[in-house]
């Protein structure tokens, strides 16, 4: 059954499952060289902080939510850790479309999304590189994802997340973050999308209220880096 206007997706996928090849929103551009709009290098205090906490350890299991890339895999496995990858953006595109906040509020789709991306045992990971993927999530899905993240990481482990500091942005690029060294990232841009929501310090503190601590790094390029201790 199809409804016009805002109700057009109300019946779709109420039992979960993919919404179609590209979802209902804008298709997510593949992260290939042809789609790349720009590359920059940034010094990341958040990344440095994240790796400082796991420095000297090996055999940890780290989760990267930005999809696998050669640089990140090599860097983490060279440190002696186990690398796990989930491509949040790809699954959002399959599940509901990157720009479809209405679909992301659907309980069936939330369940499907969690099953596809974060179906791991409790305390399975020793750290999570979240990057900026939480900005793609509408409030209902975001709350469920953060709750699940807390469940699958070991207590006392760290997560690194990025958020735009400007809460009046209309569109933001899709980013791919590639680790160069302990504190340097190559950031590639692919197209643009409307973020599901933007955050200020207060809303971030509220979002990670169940965490042991939340540390902010505000950078010159208006990207807020957040290190969360679970």
């Amino acid at each position: 059954m199809l409804f016009p206007g805002p109700l057009k997706n109300v019946m779709r996928g109420s039992r979960g499952g993919p919404s179609g090849p590209n979802g209902s929103g804008q298709p997510v551009p593949p992260r290939t060289a042809e789609n790349q709009k720009g590359v920059s290098t940034r010094v990341s205090r958040g990344l440095e902080e994240f790796f400082t906490h796991i420095h000297g350890q090996s055999g940890l299991t780290l989760l990267d939510l930005g999809g696998a890339s050669q640089q990140n895999v090599s860097f983490i496995t060279d440190l002696g850790h186990r690398f796990s990858s989930e491509d949040f953006l790809q699954v959002i595109g399959e599940t509901s479309g990157a720009d479809s906040a209405a679909d992301q509020a659907n309980p069936g789709r939330i369940e499907y999304f969690l099953r596809k991306t974060l179906d791991y045992p409790e305390h399975h990971f020793d750290g999570v590189l979240i990057w900026d993927v939480l900005e793609y999530l509408a409030p209902a899905l975001l709350t469920a994802v953060v709750e699940r993240l807390h469940r699958i990481v070991r207590p006392g482990s760290y997560m690194l997340a990025f958020f735009h500091a400007d809460d009046k942005l209309e569109t933001v690029p899709y980013y791919a973050f590639r680790i160069q060294d302990m504190k340097t990232l190559h950031v590639s841009e692919y197209g643009a999308h409307r973020p599901a929501q933007l955050f200020n310090n207060r809303s971030l503190e509220k979002l990670f209220a169940s965490s042991e601590s939340v540390k902010f790094f505000l950078t010159r390029d208006r990207l807020r880096e957040v290190v969360i201790k679970a």
């Binding site: 992260r31 060289a33 696998a68 890339s69 050669q70 496995t77």
Partner: protein, 209 residues
């Protein structure tokens, strides 16, 4: 000067092949050139309805080939390089060889039977849903999809590839060949090692030699 040479050597007229039944020795015309082995091989290649991509020759090499319209349910053991452009539901073992999953290739589970791959080297251009052990290296090319746990000595992931799962880097170890058993002992052990009919896949294809 050039014209003069042409005058001296007039073009040879076309001579049709000798009629059937005539002795080739008796024919005055030179013997028709036999097609080269390479040409024969091309005609004997399994037919594919899609044009062969330019890079295919490099990828396939001299590997055994499972074409894109072929589906195999069960286990594959190979002692030569293998190119899979069809569907394999089950396991593939090429312990000392290279396994390539072509752009149309799919390695996946069958019912409750999980898919897995063990090979010296794995190159993925298609889809794999299962665990992969590549003793030397694993390449996940652009547009490939891999869901599963990976154990390999070296991994290469191209931008645009989709990967979901975990990666364990292992130290490369020389692959130990299976110990040769006496024929009698092997025959005696075979029934005991055989899976029960209920657990066996519907169709088992064994490429063991």
């Amino acid at each position: 000067m050039w014209n003069k040479r042409r005058d001296e050597e007039p073009p040879k007229p076309y001579k049709p092949l000798a009629p059937q039944g005539a002795s080739p020795v008796a024919a005055s015309a030179p013997l028709p050139v036999a097609p080269s082995p390479v040409e024969v091989k091309k005609e004997m290649t399994p037919v594919s309805s899609t044009p062969v991509a330019k890079f295919d020759a490099d990828i396939r090499g001299h590997a055994a080939n499972i074409g894109k319209s072929v589906k195999v349910v069960g286990q594959i053991f190979t002692k030569e390089d293998l190119f899979v452009d069809g569907t394999v539901e089950g396991t593939v073992e090429a312990l000392e060889h290279k396994l390539t999953i072509g752009p149309h290739g799919i390695i996946g589970p069958h019912g409750t039977m999980e898919a897995s791959i063990k090979a010296r080297e794995v190159v993925a251009l298609g889809t794999i849903k299962g665990n992969v052990e590549a003793y030397e290296r694993l390449e996940i090319r652009k547009d490939a999809k891999l869901e599963g746990e990976i154990r390999t000595a070296r991994i290469i992931i191209e931008d645009g590839a989709y990967f979901k799962g975990s990666i364990d880097i292992i130290k490369p170890e020389p692959v130990k060949a299976a110990p040769k058993q006496p024929a009698a002992a092997a025959a005696a052990a075979a029934p005991a090692a055989a899976p029960s009919p209920a657990a066996a896949p519907a169709v088992a294809t064994d490429f063991r030699r």
